[in-house]
Symmetry: C2
Subunit: 345 residues, 2 copies
């Protein structure tokens, strides 16, 4: 009845954090370890990647670490970005972070109107706008991490109406409201879904900082909406891991004074994890479209010839950590049984 | 304009966890350190307190640690509790925990109907029923820690209609829905509010396990409803700290495999903390009613002659921890500035 091996064409991760320095050395090679051959790389470094020169330098650093991956680079939307810079850019996209909502987003945007000249230039250049779709928390307007995404959606709708030809990706959707909103919009608007948001609900990060990420996982019904849209095979919903490595001491919480970094790290187990999750809700037949076909089609990237084969297993447990030099990282599902493994060539 | 000292009559904490063994030695004396002279003691020990004999034994242990506190004891609602036991009980109340929702609640209730004979006996004896008002999480019905309290409220309404003379306290309310529900019911239904739920919202425990408690803190508007009902001076809403000490290694989260205990520990800083919080939202004039008068009136406990005086301070910071023997506990607001201090006699 159920397959014991499955083969998918060149998986593409349309949202991944590859960091800098020794941490980058450790995690960049995990893209391929996790079965992926394309990485759409986030620009929220310190300082952020704000122009073509910086993006090309960063890309060269990543290629030096692992030359077998196709890196698609993005620019960080900020007042430093100009329409001229967009016109000369060879990057695939521009990423917008609302101010202060996630790692290194202190320089994020507060209002979109000021960026309309940028978006016009992006529309002309056919660049993609990637939105971190959350508004900052504000107790006076009852805004918190739970409704930050739903409260953002009117901004997405407004941007799409003003720039109907601009390709926009709502990143890492976590709510039924977001799924329904993206579905209701035109063919230029797509949405990425992470692996961990197909698994977690709020109970899983309540008291467990390692499962804390932004956007936070929401209600069971929200998770169900993410699962349903994948099962439905909707072509504008595709995979972006938002795999976000942090040093263990930034994820542990040893005192009430310690702040925890937002992020879940999935890169090294990514394709087996997504297969395990999709199988759990009866969507394994959608794996290839979800992790490769739909995203490549939206971004206009050709399907590579390369294929990755997964094998079902009853004997595989996720590693407790990975280390290289002075860098260590702990994965999502550490120590937990995982149902699929990559077949080595 | 604002007072620099304030005096309140014999503060009473109508919901506190005093634990067992060496931990109890440490935390029981913190009731008075925090300015309180009455402790309504929770029965969720291991094993739980299920009859009068056990309650009296536990009370004697607490009295041996600090004889200056008035301890009101409760019994743990379970199938082991009989109407006969209720009739001979000298305890003040019976505490109901839905199964599995908080510390040592694995033996909690699943349905109330089976306990109707108990509730009839309690009504005759004029004992108070204390409800942990949450239903267990269940993804299939979209129930999680965020809506567990709101989903419980129909049970409260049903119980009150069936037993209109039974005094019921909905413990540690966290939502506007709970406040409105209790307000809408008769004079036999009251509600406790903790200090930490007057301070926290969901963002504060997202990634910070030391602020994780059950029920979890909710939306800013829910916190606002708790503040408003205190400011209004509603006599059926009074203080119960739910101060819940845990060893530091049960609150820290050092790996993805570690589970964190639910609970926030406020006992040793309690009256200064409540004063600081009430002052922050303009309700300092309600302090005495909230921490003493309303609760004592509902439970029929006379106001003691004793008074506690607080003094405003710009120089007080909460201790990082308290220790005694092999027991250590870290308080809420550790290291943080607090606006009031108790004036020693």
């Amino acid at each position: 009845m159920s397959a014991t091996t499955i083969s998918v064409a060149a998986p593409a991760d349309f949202h991944v954090h590859l960091r800098q320095g020794s941490f980058s050395e450790l995690v960049t090679s995990h893209v391929r370890l996790g079965g992926f051959s394309l990485a759409y790389v986030m620009p929220n470094l310190q300082p952020p990647i704000v122009n073509t020169e910086e993006a090309l330098l960063y890309k060269a650093q990543l290629q030096a670490i692992d030359p077998t991956i196709e890196y698609l680079m993005t620019l960080y939307l900020s007042p430093d970005l100009t329409p001229d810079e967009i016109r000369k850019a060879k990057q695939s996209g521009v990423k917008s972070y609302p101010r202060g909502v996630t790692t290194n987003s202190e320089g994020g945007i507060e209002s979109y109107e000021v960026y309309y000249p940028i978006f016009e230039a992006m529309e002309e250049q056919d660049m993609v706008l990637n939105l971190h779709g959350e508004v900052p928390s504000d107790p006076t307007s009852n805004t918190c991490v739970l409704n930050a995404e739903a409260t953002f959606l009117p901004h997405l709708v407004k941007l799409h109406k003003r720039f109907p030809k601009l390709r926009i990706v709502l990143e890492h959707a976590t709510t039924r409201a977001a799924v329904e909103c993206v579905k209701s919009l035109g063919s230029t608007v797509a949405c990425t879904i992470t692996a961990h948001h197909l698994d977690l609900v709020v109970d899983d990060w309540a008291g467990q900082s390692w499962n804390f990420c932004k956007p936070v996982a929401k209600f069971p019904d929200d998770r169900q909406a993410l699962r349903e849209v994948i099962k439905e095979g909707h072509p504008r919903f595709f995979f972006g891991s938002d795999s976000a490595p942090h040093p263990p001491d930034r994820k542990s919480v040893s005192s009430p004074k310690q702040a925890c970094a937002a992020g879940v790290y999935t890169s090294p187990i990514l394709l087996p994890l997504v297969a395990t999750l999709l199988e759990s809700f009866g969507a394994l037949d959608k794996l290839e479209h979800f992790v490769s076909g739909f995203g490549r089609a939206f971004y206009g990237r050709p399907a590579a010839d390369e294929r990755v084969t997964l094998r079902k297993t009853l004997h595989k447990f996720v590693e407790d950590s990975w280390a290289l030099g002075d860098a260590t990282v702990v994965p999502f599902w550490a120590g937990k049984q995982i149902g699929w493994e990559i077949v080595s060539e």
